[in-house]
Structures are given as structure tokens and as C-alpha cells.
Symmetry: C2
Subunit: 340 residues, 2 copies
Amino acid sequence: MQEKTVVAVDAMGGDNAPGEIVKGALDAIAKRGDIKVMLVGKPEAMEKELSGVSYAKEQMEIIEASEVIETAEPPVMAIRKKKDSSIVVAMNLLKEGKADAFVSAGNSGAILVGGQVIVGRIRGIERAPLAPLIPTEKGVSLLIDCGANVDARPSHLVQFARMGSIYMEHVMGVSNPRVAIVNIGAEEEKGNALVKETFPLLKECDDINFIGSIEARDIPSGAADVIVCEAFVGNVILKLYEGLSSTLIGVIKQGLMSTLRSKIGAALALPALKNTLKAFDATEYGGAPLLGLRGLVVKTHGSAKAREVTNAILQCVTFKEQAINDKIKENILQIQEEKE
Amino acid sequence: MQEKTVVAVDAMGGDNAPGEIVKGALDAIAKRGDIKVMLVGKPEAMEKELSGVSYAKEQMEIIEASEVIETAEPPVMAIRKKKDSSIVVAMNLLKEGKADAFVSAGNSGAILVGGQVIVGRIRGIERAPLAPLIPTEKGVSLLIDCGANVDARPSHLVQFARMGSIYMEHVMGVSNPRVAIVNIGAEEEKGNALVKETFPLLKECDDINFIGSIEARDIPSGAADVIVCEAFVGNVILKLYEGLSSTLIGVIKQGLMSTLRSKIGAALALPALKNTLKAFDATEYGGAPLLGLRGLVVKTHGSAKAREVTNAILQCVTFKEQAINDKIKENILQIQEEKE
């Protein structure tokens, strides 16, 4: 019998919890028999969503957690005080080896803090970045870091570049991925203090394919595979991507409905158009992994719906199969050995 | 006879200089008789573009400048050494009162440095921000700062908020403009060190309508009129806006051409669609003013073509008519008086 990937799922986190989260978990176990979900949260809330639904009972376990960490709560305090919150309980399952992975749409800061404090970083990793895949004209690029830990140091960004490169090569199958740092000009002398300090360090890394600076205007065309930046900038890029795509698609629909002639045209063109635009829908790509932790933690959008939760759970299987964390450990060891 | 607005134009700056710049200047004087352009640059280059073209000679003056500041040149050194560059010569015209305004598509850093060193800041203004208008679902918002001076301090951001508010109220006619600071969450406790320090200062300003944090995803829908951020983040927003809009429009065209049915639809729908998308074209909005300088300096995109140059020149007339700089001076004086 094949070993199941066990995924702890935070039933209480995100704008659409618990309804969409539970639905996403049910869809994931329906899709693949080799997944087991541990659904963590308030029992009455979860049972309400599960009642009357038929599913494979051996693929779903209910884990009780009496507390919930809210979106606006200060993360450090929340992780420390709410020992019986869904996030803390699930992360302990991961730490104890009862689960392989953890998926949550909850408080980003709490997930990052909990990841570092409860699950723990790989030895040698200074900070665990949140690294979503963003759609481009050519496919997808990894945007690293979009986490809640802002004001990064140059050494953090160098590790982000290395981990991102491993992820794109071994999970996404991009050979020799192009790594670039987000900057306000293509020239080496441009940038803020952080970028100016980081640039020469990245140039020295012979284990990555560093192609220099990337201006934000060149991200959507897919000019780099791994896009390195600190978390404030990464957040701005990720959220502007979402906002601008949805606004433009709205504007386009309005344009198509503005004249009778264009309405007829729209009726003919929309099916093909929808397929193309789907490629630019960030929710298609499921969750973003926190890289550099001892266990796999995947954060989905706060606004995640069932489909995104399902995709995030499925992603855990690939991540485990590809043994990404072992590859990161090897890379760090190698760098340390070279230094000695 | 009506007084002309005299605009010095950098014929040598930008990717498409001198051809598109000269063409833009010619179009501007053809459109309005109350503009006089002082075209600054290498005489042979400018004359080549003007030869054989008929235009109102009294609306165009050729000003010789033997040097050019290149895009990649370190700004401070360039302004200091290249005394006979088009940027320095034109800024001196502004300083001496021979020109009312200066338009350039050249080296952003040099324009910012020259603006501060040659033209000079309004007394009390600590830093002159570059403030382009960006398209939104509801119209346009002012993005302040997108300049080359990164790593700003909280007091800079407070002045940006004030100047931006004046601009949107008096140039764009938005009454009581909503001012927001770019952040990675809506909550006051989120953000990097700069945002956390600036937030309470903005809350205290009773001369602006501060509505709190804005996440990048809410910028395209027009959730604020004045969007305050430091220049690195502003640059990322501006350039991602440009890049993502153009990529999405490309993707949409591809989608429309993918099937025979959609091709027929596209032929019917495209004219209406083009009109709608035009509203999302940043080049429609001409140049971005450097606010807070004693004279008016307008920076257009490095990739500016004739239409954008024309719009930037026309914008100078409005800016002069509305006496924006006098309003900024009054505001600064008032704040100082209140403090005393």
C-alpha cells in the first residue's frame, strides 16, 4: 500500500473559513487517494460543514483546536498565548511528525512566526521566506519573499535566491533558472541601500544563475524565473498583480459590453478569451510555500476559496515527493563546507 | 496679447531622443499658440529633425548645449561636471526665469539632483518627489514618490502627502482628496519601520484627508486619490503597472486570435475595447511633475514618444495657471506658523 501524504489543514484561517476550506479539503481527498487531511479547528464549526457530505472517512481526521488566531492579531503574542489555536495545534502535528505538511489561509504573520518558533528553520537558514508563484507571459515565476517579515538584510536575500533557485529547478522543472533582484533600474549602481549591498553578494554566488537587476515592468513578461526582493516590496508586487489583473479584466468586460457590435463580438470571443485569462489567475497556482523550514508549511491567500485550498494541498504531495527540503539542506551544507 | 508659457525641452534625453522629442514639441506648439518651446540640445541633432518641417518660428527657440547626460551616469557627478549638458543648460534657463517649466525624458537621477541643486527646493521642503498620475477604474490617482531618491524618512512622506493633496485638489479638481499610505495590510500595526513611523504622523495632519493604509491590490480600483510611498516602492508600482497592463493586453489579443470564432468576435469587439483600454494607458497622462521645486520640472518616461512629450508640455500650462507652487508655499508657511 502506498504511503499517504498527511496534510494538516487550518479549518479556521482566512476570510472564507471554515466553509471554503473544508470544501477544498474534501475536493483534495476526492481527487487523490494518497492524501490524508487532518482538519484542525473548532469541532462544531467543522462538523457543520461535513454533515450530510459523503467522503472517504479514512482520508479525513478531525483534530480539535478551541482557539482561533484572528487576521489582525499581533503574531508573536498570538502564537505564544493561543496554545490551542488551529495554527499552533497544526504546527505541533508537523513538528511531531504526525503530519507532513500544513496548509493555512490564516494570519500570515502568525504562520511565519509559528513556522520559525514551532516547526523551526533548517539549520543555517536565517529567515524563512514566503514564495508564491506568479503568472507571466511565459509561464510562472517565483516571487521570493512575500512574507510578513519586512526589513530584510542582504544575507537573507542571498539565501532567498538560493532556495528559490532550488525550488524552480526541482519542483517546476526549470533548468538553470534565471535569478534576478528587483530594482528601480537595470544598472548595478541603482537601487536602495539593501539592493546595492546585496547585488555584489549575488554576483559572487556560483551556485545560481544570477542575471542582475529586474525592473518591475519586466516581471509580467517572464524576464526571470526567480525574482528576489524583500517582503514589503514582494507584497506590493503580489497584491498589485492581483488587483491590476482583476481591474483590467473588469474594464475589458465593460468595454466589450459598451456597444451592440462589441456585444455580439464578445459573445463569440469570450470562451477563447476566458481560457487565456485563466492563465493569469493567481488562484490557479494554489499556495505559497514557506521555504527553509524543517517541515512544509503552505500559506494560501486570505481570500482563498475551495479551489485554491485544494491546489495547495495537492502541491504538498509534489513538494514531499521532490524532497525539496533535503536539497536545501545539501546546498547550505555545501556552501558552509566551501567556506571552511 | 496673451503671455506665453515658456517650456524648455530636453531634446537629448530619453530612449527616443531627439526624433520623438522634437516631434512632440512641434505638436505642442501646433496645438496651442500660447506655448513657446526652448529646444535644448546639440544643434546639428535638433536641426536635422527640424529641417524641412514648417512650424511657427516665434514659438520655437534653439538653445545650444554641447553635452548629453546618459541614462546610466551617476547623477551627482554628471550634474557637477557636465555644465553644458542639455539638462543643466535647461535648468539654468528655469532658474534665471527665462523659462517657466522644463520637460525631460532623460536620466531621472540627474533631473532630481539638478532640480534640487540648480532649480532649488521651495523653502521648508526637504525632498522633491516625482509624482506621476496612474490610471484607475475611477479615473487617476497620484503616486508620490516615484523618484530616484530612495530610503526616505517619515518627515519626507508627510510632505509628499501634503503636496500630493494640493496637486489633486487644485490641478485635478478632486475635492477633499483621500490620502493613503502604501502598506502590506490594512491594520495600523502592520508595515516596515518607515511605514510604522509615518502612519501616526499622517494621522495627526489635519490639513489632509488621511484614510489610512492602502494595500497594492486596491490601487487599481481607485481606493485613494493620493498614494504615498517611498521612491523604491513607488517605482515598483509604476513600472509593474506599465508592464502588467501591456502584457495583459498582449495576452488578450492572443486569446482573441486563438480560434476562428473568437477572431470574428474580435473584429467586432476591438474598436470598443481599444477605447476602454486607452484609459489604462499611462502614456496618455503625459509627464510627472517634480513637486516642491521653485520652478516646474516635468519628467516623462525614458521611453516617451511624441504624444507623451506633447502632453507633458501642455501640462505645464495648467500647472502654471493653477499656481501650484504658490499653494505649496502657503501650506508650508501655515504649518510652520501653527508650530510656532
